[in-house]
Every structure is written in structure tokens, then in C-alpha cells.
Symmetry: C2
Subunit: 213 residues, 2 copies
């Protein structure tokens, strides 16, 4: 065993495979690409992961897990949805900022193999439980009148759209509005949380409370 080195081979492979799979997609990724990224021969790669599909599955779960924000802590607090929203947005934004290629990767896998995606989510069901709690709290507060009544799909899709989509089109956005300046894009993302909070408050604040603002 070669566990003396900083990281063992399987981990190195998985890290390299993540990079290649996420950047090029499943079909376009060749086993040779991954082997080259690791710095070993393609045959050695097959020794650790017999098939491409097995290697892919080994990392897919991890990737999914990392994209899901860690809102479990937030759900433990006895705060209202409107108070939780900034935290939720922050969780999402920072998760994607660390892995800006994940959204497109997940969305592609959704088209390539919806079955697989579904199964992976079911396996990590512990991670989606807080999301179900969140869903329920939103529903309850709408019944209470704490939140304006809206279809949950509107609330969820709006929030996700505003948080995720800019990363998917960061290239044209940067080119058209920021003179191709990457740093400027990061600033734009950092300022984005407040805009999203503003929109979500607008959507969820009951009309009677609106005038108080």
C-alpha cells in the first residue's frame, strides 16, 4: 500500500475525474483524459475503476451532495422564513461559487440519465430532509398569513433561477456587461445576494405589511 503519500491514488483519481467530467460532460470525457490528468496510464486507471461508468457513479453522488446547500443548521433555528432567506441564499451562492461548473453538470446529467439522477438523490435522502422541512415551513407560514400565499413552485423556481442561472451564462454576461473582466463578475455575484433577498421579500411579504416598509 502507498498510503504514505499525501493522498492515495483513488482520491487523486476521483478529484481529477471530477474536473474532467464536470468540464467536458460524460460523453466527451475519455478515460485517457482522466488518466492524463492524474498522471498515470490509462490501464492503471482501469485497475482502480474498471469502467468509465463505475468511475462516474463513484463521483456523482459526491458532486450532488456538494451542490445541495447545507441548510440543516438553518432549519434548526427558530426563525421565520423571511429571516432565514438571507442564510439560504448565502448557502446556495457560496456552494456554487466554489464549484461554478456543477449546475451545468447536474443539468446535463438530468437529461442524459434522469433515472440515475433520481436514484442518487434517493440515496442521499438525509440531505434533502431539511429541504422538505423548509418547504413545510413556507407552507405553514403562508397559512398563518406570515407570508403572502403563492404557489410553492413559484417561490422555489424564482429563488433557484436567481441564484443559479447567472453562473450558467457567466461568459456572455461578463462579455456584454463587464468588458470581459472576471473580477467584476465576482463582484457582481457578491452583490447579488441583496438583490435576490429584495425580490424574495417582495414576493413573500403579505400586502398588509408591504406599506409598513
Amino acid at each position: 500500500m502507498k498510503e504514505e503519500e499525501p493522498i492515495d491514488m483513488e482520491t487523486r483519481i476521483i478529484e481529477a475525474a471530477k474536473i474532467v467530467f464536470v468540464r467536458k460532460g460524460y460523453e466527451a470525457t475519455k478515460m485517457g483524459d482522466i488518466a492524463a490528468e492524474v498522471g498515470i496510464s490509462r490501464t492503471a486507471l482501469h485497475y482502480y475503476f474498471r469502467t468509465k461508468e463505475l468511475l462516474f457513479e463513484a463521483i456523482f453522488g459526491q458532486l450532488m451532495g456538494r451542490l445541495l446547500p447545507n441548510i440543516a443548521i438553518l432549519m434548526e433555528e427558530a426563525s421565520t422564513i423571511l429571516e432565514k432567506i438571507p442564510g439560504i441564499i448565502e448557502q446556495y451562492l457560496s456552494a456554487i461559487k466554489q464549484n461554478p461548473l456543477f449546475p451545468i453538470f447536474i443539468i446535463n446529467e438530468m437529461n442524459r440519465n434522469p433515472e440515475h439522477l433520481f436514484q442518487t438523490i434517493m440515496k442521499n435522502s438525509n440531505r434533502i430532509q431539511p429541504l422538505l422541512q423548509l418547504k413545510k415551513q413556507v407552507y405553514d407560514e403562508m397559512e398563518n398569513g406570515l407570508l403572502k400565499k403563492r404557489p410553492l413552485i413559484d417561490v422555489a423556481s424564482t429563488l433557484l433561477s436567481l441564484v443559479i442561472f447567472p453562473f450558467l451564462i457567466h461568459l456572455p454576461l461578463t462579455a456584454i456587461f463587464l468588458d470581459g473582466d472576471r473580477k467584476a463578475f465576482e463582484k457582481y455575484i457578491d452583490n447579488r445576494a441583496s438583490l435576490i433577498i429584495e425580490v424574495m421579500h417582495h414576493l413573500l411579504t403579505p400586502d398588509k405589511n408591504r406599506k409598513q416598509l
Copy 2:
């Protein structure tokens, strides 16, 4: 020549290729898949389009063009931005509703070959001219005080996010919030315009006017 038939072979091929390319992406699409979709042999397909790349380029421009909403007519009207917004959203939504797989296709091509995408856009520069007009009018109205001053990238990215992203995640949205009912998703999309208008108005209405609402 076989021009007696309803549509000639090149058109049939292009239509079939669109379907396959858009659904599976460039790498995953095999010439044989397209040939099968048309109902001819792979060799016959090569007779009309010598290479896969040529076939792809033949349809890519068309696809881009169809995704860009036809806002030229809207720009001819002497209306304000706030008056134009519903029309713009309607244009986008109907364009994507007719081709719900286009957004993911374009975004993928953006990663696969940014150069190619850029060149294609430059060729159809006549189609982006109205967008530049739109950009200018937004800027002018912000200067006039007709619109609340905001970074243009915020306005554009918010609008595009709200319009496009729900189509990218239509599968999980439908599964989680609509019991997998496709018809319900269509209804959700149809109701979406008003929500987006509401949000854009909130973002763009100057504070002094807000209270009047």
C-alpha cells in the same frame, strides 16, 4: 431531383439533426443516430453533409436565431421600457416554449466551443441590434429617472434567469411540486409571465413612484 415530395432531403436531415443534436449534445450525437432519425443510411447522410461538423454548423445558426426573441417590432413602438416589458417576456417565453431544449443546448455549446458561438452571433449581428437598442433605452430611462438606476447586468441577468431557468429544471420542478403532471407545468409557465413582470416592475420602478401603486 426529388423536389416533388413535401420536403427535400436536406431539409429533412436538418430537421432530424436538430432534434438529435439538441437532445443529446454534440459529442453524444452519432451520425448514425441522425441517419436513423431521417430513415436513410449513414452513408447517404454523408453524401449530403460530408462531415458531422459541417452538419452541425449548418443548423447551429438557425437554432441561435430562433432562440433570440423577435423584439425588433417591439423596439419600433414609442413605448417606455415598463410598457415594453410584458411584450419582451412574452417573446422570450413563447420562443422557448416552442423549443424547450434550446437553452440547455446553447449553454452546452457555450462551454464546448465558445469561439464558434461567438462567431455565429457576429454573423447574425442584425438580430442582436434590437437588443442593443433595448439596452440603450433602459440606460436612457434610468438617466431620465423613468426607471430606478440599477446596474444593467442586474436587470438583464434577473430577467433572463426568471424566463429561462425554469425550463432547465422542469423535470425536478414537475416532480416535486406538480406530481409529475406535464400539463400542470405548462400552466405554471403560462402564469409565469405575470410574476416576472411583477418582479421586473419592482426592480425598475423608481422609489418615488412605488407608493403610488
